[in-house]
Structure formats: structure tokens, C-alpha cells
């Protein structure tokens, strides 16, 4: 089974402030990491690849330094990668982002399955996966916990969802897009060896010259979303400093926990 995984590079730091003029997010730290839910998507892909063979290709749309996230994904086991980077596609909202990703997937090749994270840690709309499916005209299952594939039914897949503590199996035709929940599995770690090997795995770079999407469909011109307001959370630091001997502190802590439990 050939699988595409969509990953987003998100800032490591939570210190994100808001530009009062444009309402855009200002990232304090240049350091990026793979969106946590996307690591769960990669893990699902790796497990399926072990079961069925084929290859896993990881896609991201982002600035040139998002290559780091792709290399890391390949250190986690993905075979190939594709970076879509172009000023023309920057600043896009979810729909503009999804159009670009869908076009890149089509251009790259044929895939049996496309996985995304359920939610990004920064934008957090949870829309991109579904929109990519819409652009490709294929089914989508949101917020899944795991995937079951039966070789006897090769053109279908079971997406397992958890609803009110119950597990639901949603069977859908392939190809499809599935959005994987954060924490649904334990992603394998990269090793020194796999990190070194990832440096030499294939990385394709696309610009909009390759995708040929009309300029008014991508980037800021292609984004119908208007962010009308955004603000930093208020409330400030709520930490309460406890004082006393270790024994006294333990008693105080226990009382505080009991008190909180009472409120539930």
C-alpha cells in the first residue's frame, strides 16, 4: 500500500503572540517541530507499511526550513518526502493550504491512502485533512484512533473511531483520507542510524510553477477566511507558591487535590 502522510511544522515554543494589526500569529522561536498528531499519523503509516509493503511519502507545505521536519519524518521511517515551498502559496488559510497539498499529492503519484493529523498544535482548525479529501474527491474519516486493513478486502479500509468510550469501525473505499488523533498510538523513535540515513532519502521540492494552480486560488489571494480578531489569553500566571517542610507540603498538596476533586 502506498501511503501519503501530511505533516505540518509547528513552533516548539508556546510563546506565540498576536500581531494587533494583522491578527497573524507571531512565532517567538524559530525552532520548529513536527505537529504531534502528525507523528501518530506517521506511526499508523509505518504499521500499515509493515503489514502490506509499499512506500510512505511525507508531504509538507511550508518555508524552506520545513525540510528539517521532512528529514525527521524520514528518520522515523518514511521513505520519501515532498516539500511545497513558494512565496505564492504562503499565508494561505485552510482551503488554500488544502488545494496546494491535494495538487502536490496528485502530481507526485498514485496513493492508496492519505493520512493527516486530526488537529495542528498552532492553527488548530482541524479542517485541512477533510478539505484535502474534498479537493481530491475521495472519502474522509475524521479523528480516528487506529486503522485496520484486511488483505481479503483490498479496496477498503476500516477506520476505528472512539465515540463515548465505544469503538466504531468505519469502513470506506480506498483511496481515502484519514485524520489521526493525537495520542492514538506511541510513535516509534528515530535512532542515530535512521537519522543519518534520512539525510540521503529523496526529497522533492515543488513550487507553484510545478503545481500550476491559478494565483488567485493560493496564498493570501486564495484565502476566503478573514481573521477578524485574535488575542492572547489573559489571566497571567496563576501559580501559587507553597511553603513549608516536605511533610507539610505533602499535606497541603493532598488537601488541594481533594478540594479540586470535590469540585468535579
Amino acid at each position: 500500500m502506498d501511503i501519503a502522510v501530511l505533516i505540518k511544522q509547528v513552533p516548539v515554543s508556546n510563546n506565540v503572540s498576536v500581531d494587533p494589526e494583522t491578527h497573524a500569529l507571531i512565532r517567538a522561536s524559530a525552532e520548529g517541530m513536527i505537529n504531534p498528531a502528525d507523528l501518530n499519523a506517521i506511526e499508523e503509516a509505518m504499521v500499515l507499511k509493515e503489514q502490506t509493503g509499499g512506500k510512505v511519502v511525507v508531504f509538507t507545505m511550508g518555508p524552506p526550513d520545513a525540510e528539517k521536519a521532512l528529514r525527521e519524518a524520514m528518520a522515523h521511517g518514511c521513505d520519501e518526502s515532498c516539500l511545497i515551498t513558494d512565496r505564492a502559496v504562503a499565508g494561505g488559510d485552510t482551503i488554500a493550504t488544502a488545494k496546494v497539498l491535494a495538487e502536490a499529492i496528485k502530481k507526485y503519484g498514485k496513493f492508496d491512502l492519505i493520512l493527516s493529523g486530526a488537529l495542528s498544535a498552532d492553527g488548530a482548525t482541524g479542517q485541512v485533512g477533510a478539505m484535502v479529501a474534498e479537493c481530491l474527491g475521495i472519502p474522509h474519516v475524521a479523528e480516528i484512533q487506529s486503522i485496520q486493513y484486511d488483505e481479503a478486502v483490498p479496496d477498503k479500509i476500516d477506520a476505528v473511531k472512539k465515540v463515548y468510550g465505544e469503538r466504531f469501525h468505519v469502513r470506506c473505499a480506498l483511496p481515502a483520507v484519514l485524520s489521526v488523533n493525537f495520542g492514538s498510538n506511541v510513535p516509534r523513535l528515530a535512532t542515530l542510524r535512521s537519522t543519518r540515513a534520512a539525510k540521503n532519502k529523496p526529497l522533492a521540492t515543488y513550487t507553484n510553477a510545478d503545481l500550476k494552480l491559478p494565483a488567485d486560488q493560493v496564498g493570501i489571494p486564495g484565502s476566503p477566511t478573514a481573521v477578524i480578531d485574535s488575542f492572547e489569553p489573559t489571566g497571567g500566571r496563576m501559580a501559587e507558591m507553597l511553603e513549608g517542610t516536605p511533610e507539610e507540603l505533602a499535606v497541603k498538596l493532598k488537601n488541594m487535590i481533594d478540594e479540586e476533586k470535590g469540585k468535579l
Binding site: V12, S13, S29, E31, L189, T191, L192, R193, R196
Partner: protein, 386 residues
């Protein structure tokens, strides 16, 4: 007795340890200024190893090593956890005769001070202590069960607490923005809060920031940053079934961190002329985690494959980068500068946890009594001038 007012810039292990040692004198009035949190910078990223013998600090500075080690043991005995001691023991591997000789002298010194220590050439015995090691191409290894590593952040906070008990003052979240100098003599400093303080002495304990701090008084502090890149490895079986000791090679060292293993390139293997290793950067731009270079992966893989093959296929859990502040000879810079009353306690490089107690003890004596010591003579600023 006339009071002496001392302002300390920086609340890492250097500043808090010096603050504590000064607070032992009745006539010292000490304020420590820390722009962030106590022990939250280089000190927090430290491995915190204080071993009875290894090559990190020459055997001629045995007193420094022993005073550091015993200060922390005492701290830990007073209140468990206050120095974060993890008594894992240390295995120092002899890869050549020179290292072997250093280890043997170190063991003799440790034993004379009442600690255990043995030089082992029986390779099975070495493998008993560290099953994942390769004993090919080694001469032997020094081992003691008595030491291990400490937690620099815990130590800094304990020193801060002890200093406060003795009347010292800590100001966290306060940055020193100006050091006031009149007629080439320090008179005080100004802070980000817009306050001005009068001091007889101002001590720079800002480690990697010292270049910038020195500029405030026109002193060129000759330190470089060497990259301290550390990785946390999750062993292939997820959990080790033995106590991973502090493991020292001339090129790198390792220690246990919970169920993981912390690995760092040794600071003496850093080359100040190699731009991959050393330079002068802005420590405020260091990310909390990550930021390590690719070359380090290659380095570590090559090292572990040969030396500790049992853990080479560990998972990479996380990594971080920090800057060690070092002058050209990799020794600290302590004491007076060309500006009267402006004192340095910086340049601790890769040994700040080991060295801070002895250095602070002597520096406090210099500041409070005007008495120098052989250690201060050795590590004086003037050795680096001209």
C-alpha cells in the same frame, strides 16, 4: 565591622554558589540579580557530573574537585534531593597510556581521601559493570561506586535558599542593564526595573553572557562559546536492567537520566578554531530543546558503534544545545579586572559544577578579606592579558 556591599550578576551555579559563600561573612551584604530563573541557563542543561576521577579537570586541581564533591554530599545529607545526587558510580575508560596514568593517579587521590576506587584490566569485570560496552581496543577502566552526578539547578536553588537564610537577597526576573563606573571604579548598577543600587563590588557570574556583561564596563572578557550538544537516548530494550554508571571517554561521556541515557561530547575535545565547535554567539537565542548540528549525529554514531555498541540503536528522545563559556586554556576566569571593584567569576566552561564551590570559597575570601589564594592566582584574569 564595616559592611561590604556586593552585587552579583547572574543566578546560575556561579552566582548562587558565590552568593552563599559570601553570605557566610557577617559583614557581607549580597544581592544576586538574575534576569530569568535561578539555575535555569547553562546550569540547567548541564550533565552535573562531579566524579572522583576523570580527565575533565587535571589532578593538580584535586582539592577543587574534592571540595566540590564533598560540598554537594553535605548538601544532600542535610536535605535529601537538595543537590539531586544520583549515586551511579563512574567508569572511566582508558583508551591509551596517558589516560591510564591520569586515571591511576586519580584513583590514588580518591583512596587517600577515603573513597573507593580500582583500576580494572579484567575485561569481564568491566562488562559486568557496563554490559553494553565493547572492551576491544581498551587498556582498562577506572571504577568507583561512590560518586555519580548532581543536579545543577537543584544545587543553585539550594545555595540561593541558604544564602537568603544568611540575609542575602535574590532578585529574579531582574536584568542588570548598566554597571555604574566612576574614575575607573565600580559604584553600583542599574536594572531593567529602573532601580539603581550602590555596591562596593559587582561580580560578573553570567557565564556565556560575560562577553556582553563585560562590555558594560569596557572589559573585554576573552571567552568563546563551545557548543555543548546533548542527546537523550532510549535504550533499545526501553529499560536497562543494570545501573548505567557515569561513563567517560576522552571524546564523550554518558550517564543515566531516568530510563534514558544522556550523552554529551566532552568539552576538552572541542577545538576553538573549528567553527562547528566554537564561536561567539548570543545565548539568548538558544532554543530550550533541539538546535543540535547534524555533524553531532555522525560523531555519536561513529563513537557508539565502536565503544558502546549495545546502545547504538537507541531511540533519540530529545536533544539540546547549550554554550559553554571558555577562555583559550579552558579554565575559569576569577577575580580582579582592570576596573576596580569589577570582579569576574566566569568562564567555567564544562566544569562549572565541579569548580564553583572551591572557586567561590576562595573568591569570597578575596572580596571580604583581601586575601588571595594559589587557585585564584592560577585562574586570574591577568593570565589571559597580553
Amino acid at each position: 565591622m564595616e559592611k561590604k556591599k556586593i552585587g552579583i550578576i547572574g543566578g546560575g551555579i556561579s552566582g548562587t554558589c558565590l552568593g552563599y559563600h559570601l553570605s557566610l561573612y557577617d559583614n557581607a551584604e549580597v544581592i544576586v540579580f538574575e534576569k530569568d530563573t535561578i539555575g535555569g541557563a547553562s546550569t540547567a542543561k548541564s550533565a552535573g557530573t562531579v566524579c572522583l576521577f576523570d580527565d575533565s579537570l587535571k589532578n593538580r586541581y584535586w582539592d577543587v574537585r574534592l571540595y566540590g564533591f564533598e560540598s554537594y554530599l553535605k548538601m544532600e545529607a542535610e536535605e535529601k534531593g537538595s543537590a539531586g545526587f544520583d549515586k551511579t558510580g563512574t567508569l572511566v575508560v582508558a583508551t591509551n597510556e596517558q589516560v591510564e596514568a591520569t586515571i591511576k593517579t586519580g584513583i590514588a587521590l580518591a583512596k587517600a581521601a577515603g573513597y573507593s576506587g580500582e583500576y580494572i584490566t579484567d575485561k569481564d569485570r568491566i562488562k559486568e559493570i557496563l554490559p553494553d560496552i565493547s572492551t576491544d581496543n581498551i587498556l582498562g577502566a577506572g571504577y568507583t561506586a561512590d560518586d555519580g552526578y548532581f543536579d545543577g539547578t537543584m544545587i543553585s536553588n539550594t545555595y540561593a535558599k541558604k544564602m537568603q537564610k544568611n540575609g542575602g537577597v535574590i532578585k529574579t526576573g531582574v536584568k542588570v542593564t548598566e554597571v555604574v563606573v566612576k574614575d575607573n571604579k565600580v559604584t553600583g548598577l542599574k536594572t531593567s526595573e529602573g532601580e539603581e543600587y550602590e555596591f562596593d563590588y559587582v561580580v560578573d557570574c553570567t557565564g556565556p553572557w560575560s562577553k556582553f556583561t563585560g562590555e558594560m564596563v569596557g572589559v573585554d572578557v576573552p571567552i568563546w562559546h563551545t557548543k555543548a550538544e546533548a542527546f537523550f537516548l532510549c535504550p533499545p530494550g526501553k529499560k536497562l536492567n543494570y545501573t548505567f554508571p557515569v561513563l567517560k571517554y576522552p571524546e564523550f561521556y554518558g550517564l543515566r537520566a531516568g530510563d534514558n541515557i544522556f550523552i554529551c561530547k566532552s568539552h576538552l575535545s572541542m577545538d576553538l578554531n573549528n567553527p562547528m565547535h566554537a564561536g561567539q554567539w548570543d545565548p539568548d537565542k538558544l532554543p530550550a530543546t533541539g538546535g543540535t548540528d547534524d555533524y553531532f549525529i555522525d560523531f555519536l554514531l561513529d563513537q557508539l558503534e565502536v565503544k558502546v555498541p549495545g546502545i547504538v540503536d537507541s531511540g533519540l528522545v530529545s536533544s539540546w544545545l547549550s554554550y559553554r563559556a571558555e577562555p583559550k586554556d579552558f579554565l575559569p576566569i576569577l577575580g580582579e579586572t582592570p576596573v576596580e571593584g569589577y570582579i569576574l567569576a566566569t568562564g567555567y566552561g564544562g566544569n562549572g559544577v565541579i569548580e564553583a564551590p572551591a572557586a567561590s570559597r576562595d573568591l569570597a575570601k578575596l572580596i571580604m578579606r583581601g586575601e588571595s589564594t594559589p587557585l585564584l592566582e592560577d585562574w586570574a584574569f591577568k593570565r589571559l592579558l597580553g
